[in-house]
């Protein structure tokens, strides 16, 4: 952390980090995350996500303290300092206990109540439970610090093993539906009980993942990859792409209907992300009203194909799709015009305003004869192909998959084209780009138009899947979702869009309990990403090369988390 202050590193640093960890726990408790997540069991019925959140602060504090002291070359102090940090981390959550038992704060802080106190004191009563909480925190601080004392290999294996067990426990329901197809109903029933992982199965899983990680099979594969000649790498990359495509095709039949629906939504966001990536990632124009084009696409599709709408269902999905995209492009250009000469941050706010204007108009009675006002557009038919209706999520997934692949292809080709270079030049410095003879007006408008077309196509598919569309599906939150996912994935990076969509859209769909806290997570994630990892999880080649001086970005695929 504070390398400059290493010289005056003492117990105060540890205490401060510990307190910080404790404040994080206090925060999680006060906003109700601990309580909400406690219904999600991880391992048997005795470890749930709420408890993990209660001790995560202490663990992280211990870990940070351990790292700080080891970096300063003071290995002997790590254990006592970890204990201290853990102990300090146990203190702030006691405020929750005190407030929950002594003061009636319920009408104000709705989440600080008896139930929470019960949970974080392990049902031992306020006094004994508080002691237990502090003790547990101290132990966690110790564990966190001790992790840093271990050798690299066993530590990584240990962390991998624990993460695998926790992840499988967390997604036990989804994992169960998938595994059922491979290992049979009885085995799955045994493995996952009470919507969580059976402890024995957890132990087995831990041993397996620990073993694999300890023997370092991942490392060896990476070494082998690096030692290959470039032509062979090229060859293998092609195989991987084909394999990936085959997997993507087979996916809905492996994962079942519910997960296909999730994949469909992820696909919609991938399409939008590809478009916004052009506007923000390539051209550097921060557009916060991106949902407007999604809405244009959806409403155009609805109005033209719904038999109940003013269009009377004159067109089918395939005939209406070009109109949806055309309307998106048209408005992309029209809304792009007034903002052409604005500087970056004004652009953000104005586009945000556009998004809100569109939403207000969609709600209004003024346009209700056309687009239904608050009632929305109802009865939009599913698309059909050669007389075969594509209504089920599995089929719609294919539609959106094709759309995403087309979008990705266009985006990839554009990136390497003259236009792509112009966008990136403009992103780096508008004045210099103009001096180099780039027509800024044309370049900017093309970015808006192409970005809008992807979003409009996505909106059109969205409308035909949902059958009924309402103005409240087109709020600012969609824009923020898309923006967050391209930033988390890595601005300007195409694989990053997929990674970002999977993390930010896919995971919350699987964790329904998250729903309330989804945007909180996004917000925190945006800040943390910008502070710690501004290039994203899967950065664009050029940016990564700038930052690390490397030629290939495929390594990021092998170890997306090791890129600093």
């Amino acid at each position: 952390m504070n390398q400059a202050q290493d010289t005056r590193l003492d117990w105060r640093t540890a205490a401060r980090l510990g307190l910080l960890g404790g404040v994080v726990t206090l925060y999680f408790g006060a906003i109700g995350m601990v309580l909400t997540f406690s219904v999600r069991n991880l391992l048997g019925t005795f470890i749930n996500v709420g408890q993990i959140l209660t001790v995560a602060g202490a663990l992280a504090a211990g870990y940070l303290v351990g790292r700080t002291f080891i970096e300063a070359g003071r290995r002997r102090q790590v254990i006592p300092m970890g204990l201290l940090a853990g102990f300090m981390a146990g203190l702030p959550p006691l405020i929750l206990v005190i407030m929950g038992t002594l003061f009636p704060v319920n009408p104000m802080f709705i989440n600080i109540n008896d139930e929470l106190v019960q949970l974080i004191t392990f049902g031992l009563g306020p006094v004994l439970g508080s002691v237990a909480l502090v003790l547990l925190s101290t132990v966690m601080g110790l564990v966190g610090a001790a992790l840093e004392l271990m050798d690299e290999r066993p530590r990584r294996a240990l962390i991998n093993g624990v993460l695998w067990v926790l992840l499988l426990g967390l997604f036990s329901e989804n994992a169960a539906t998938i595994l059922e197809k491979f290992i049979g109903h009885a085995a799955v029933r045994w493995m996952f009980q009470n919507k969580s992982l059976n402890p024995i199965a957890g132990a087995v899983l831990f041993i397996i993942t620990f073993g694999f990680s300890f023997l370092g099979s991942g490392d060896r594969a990476r070494q082998k990859w690096q030692s290959m000649p470039p032509e062979a790498q090229q060859q293998w990359r092609k195989y991987f792409i084909v394999l990936g495509l085959l997997l993507a095709l087979a996916l809905p039949w492996i994962v079942g209907q519910f997960l296909s629906q999730v994949l469909f939504i992820v696909g919609l966001y991938v399409m939008m992300g590809m478009g916004l990536n052009i506007v923000v990632g390539y051209a550097g124009l921060l557009d916060l009203g991106y949902v407007a084009f999604f809405a244009f696409g959806a409403y155009t599709m609805g109005v033209l194909t719904s038999p109940q709408g003013p269009g009377g269902g004159i067109l089918n999905f395939w005939a209406a799709l070009p109109f949806s995209i055309a309307v998106g492009v048209l408005f992309g250009v029209l809304l792009g015009f007034p903002v052409l000469n604005m500087r970056g941050d004004y652009l953000a706010i104005v586009t945000l305003g556009f998004g809100e204007i569109i939403r207000v108009l969609a709600y209004s009675n003024w346009l209700a004869p056309l687009i239904g006002g608050a009632q929305g557009v109802l009865g939009i038919p599913s698309p059909s192909l050669f007389g075969f209706e594509l209504g089920k999520p599995e089929y719609m997934y294919y539609l959106v998959l094709v759309g995403s692949i087309i979008a990705a292809f266009i985006a990839a080709r554009l990136r390497d084209s003259r236009l792509g270079r112009q966008w990136m030049a403009m992103r780096e410095d508008e004045d210099v780009a103009e001096a180099m003879g780039i027509n800024l007006v044309q370049t900017k408008l093309l970015a808006f138009a192409i970005g809008a077309s992807f979003s409009a196509a996505s909106g059109a598919i969205f409308a035909s899947r949902l059958h009924n569309i309402f103005p409240n599906s087109f709020g600012i939150l969609v824009s923020i979702n898309v923006l967050s996912l391209i930033i988390v994935g890595g601005l300007g990076s195409l694989p990053g869009v997929v990674v970002g969509a999977a993390i930010l859209v896919g995971l919350p769909e699987l964790l329904r309990e998250f729903a309330e806290y989804r945007l909180l997570m996004y917000g925190i994630l945006l800040i943390v990403m910008m502070l710690v990892k501004p290039e994203g999880f899967w950065p664009e080649a050029a940016r990564k090369r700038e930052l690390r001086g490397e030629e290939e970005w495929d390594e990021a695929a092998a170890a997306p988390s090791s890129a600093e």
């Binding site: 906003i31 923020i480 309330e516 925190i524 994630l525």
Partner: protein, 353 residues
């Protein structure tokens, strides 16, 4: 005289057409409404006063935007949520005061306490946001702090949703403010007058702070040139924290005012729309310009109050009040097209991008 046609691009032509169209639409709308004579002058005055009160609230929030923009050249996107935080916290104290009768017995003290609590919470939050989300990124590319600002905005909203719940909480009615005052032959609700006066007093105080005190001088120096200001011995970090604190304080107090005369209540998302509108007000007056934000806010409040009835109805749009929110954003787009530097002009150093 020969006009150089080469230099007129088609974007300019389009923008001129757009300007003319906007102007014609507004004039036609206003003319139609006035010609129809549907509203009496009493009704217009009522609208103007409610616009004044609403506008003074926008102005108080806008000051936070403009102060921060003047110094850091960044839009503090989370400012609307900082405004929410104070109002949302103080509503519980207001409910408590209403329950035990303190609000009815000593309205002035009670309201002062409410404003202090709301201002304090907003101030603390503004300083915290600056410390966590903006300070470490002060030298990063301009897109970066904007993204953290968006992140901060959503974190604050959903933190408060978690803390106080997703429901609405209405400020209890204050008996002393429930009547109305006669000004000439017009009847104006007392609460609007009180809010307006209090807001003007606060703004005058801020103007005095910026123009006449030492710290105000330091603020102006930092906004002029940070490096030179540092050479003059000004603690830049402290000035920036102070700026955020003042902006937060004004926003929190504005939150209480808003609660007093808008009965629909406060909730975690209430800061979003006023935040954009207040930014519009700041741009309207000229960003970075303190008196500009005040005038811009009040002007925007009036435009918004009159707009639906004055020109949208004249254009034959039904249920024009539904489009009220769209008016403010349209104003934003129009100013940026007609006069991007705002009415009073920007007060920014040369370093602006």
């Amino acid at each position: 005289m020969k006009i150089d046609l080469e230099r007129i691009s088609w974007v300019d032509i389009f923008l001129w057409l757009f300007r003319i169209a906007a102007f014609v639409l507004i004039v036609v709308g206003i003319y139609n409404t006035l010609a129809a004579g549907k509203y009496t002058s009493e009704q217009w005055v009522t609208l103007i006063f409610s616009g004044l009160a609403q506008g003074s609230i926008y102005a108080l929030i806008a000051l936070g935007y403009t102060l921060v923009y003047g110094i850091l050249l960044m839009i503090n996107f989370a400012h609307g949520d900082i405004y929410m935080a104070g109002a949302f916290t103080a509503v519980f104290l207001a409910e408590y005061f209403a329950e035990n009768g303190f609000l009815a017995a000593h309205p002035f003290i009670a309201l002062t306490l409410l404003a202090l609590l709301a201002g304090g919470v907003s101030m603390a939050l503004a300083v915290l946001v600056e410390r966590i989300a903006y300070r470490p990124l002060r030298n990063a590319p301009r897109l970066v702090p904007l993204i953290t600002a968006i992140g901060a905005s959503f974190s604050i909203e959903y933190t408060f949703r978690g803390l106080y719940g997703p429901g609405f909480h209405a400020y209890p009615p204050v008996p002393a403010l429930s009547g109305s005052v006669h000004i000439g032959r017009f009847e104006v609700p007392t609460v609007q007058i009180v809010v307006l006066i209090a807001a003007v007093v606060l703004m005058a105080g801020l103007y005095f702070l910026v123009e006449r005190t030492k710290i105000g001088k330091a603020m102006r120096a930092v906004s002029e040139n940070q490096d030179v200001a540092r050479l003059m011995g000004i603690d830049i970090d402290w000035v920036i924290v102070f700026t955020f604190a003042v902006g937060g304080l004004l926003a929190g107090v504005a939150g209480v005012f808003n609660g007093l005369f808008r009965p629909q209540g406060v909730y975690f998302f209430m800061g979003f729309i006023p935040g954009i509108k207040a930014f519009t007000a700041a741009v309207l007056g000229g960003i970075g310009n303190v008196p500009g934000a005040m005038v811009g806010g009040i002007l925007l409040g009036i435009i918004e109050a009159l707009g639906p009835n004055l020109f949208l109805e004249g254009l034959g749009i039904p249920a024009a009040n539904q489009l009220k929110d769209a008016i403010a954003f349209t104003v934003l787009v129009l100013i940026l097209i007609f006069r991007p530097q705002g009415i009073f002009g920007e007060r920014l150093a040369e370093k602006k991008a």
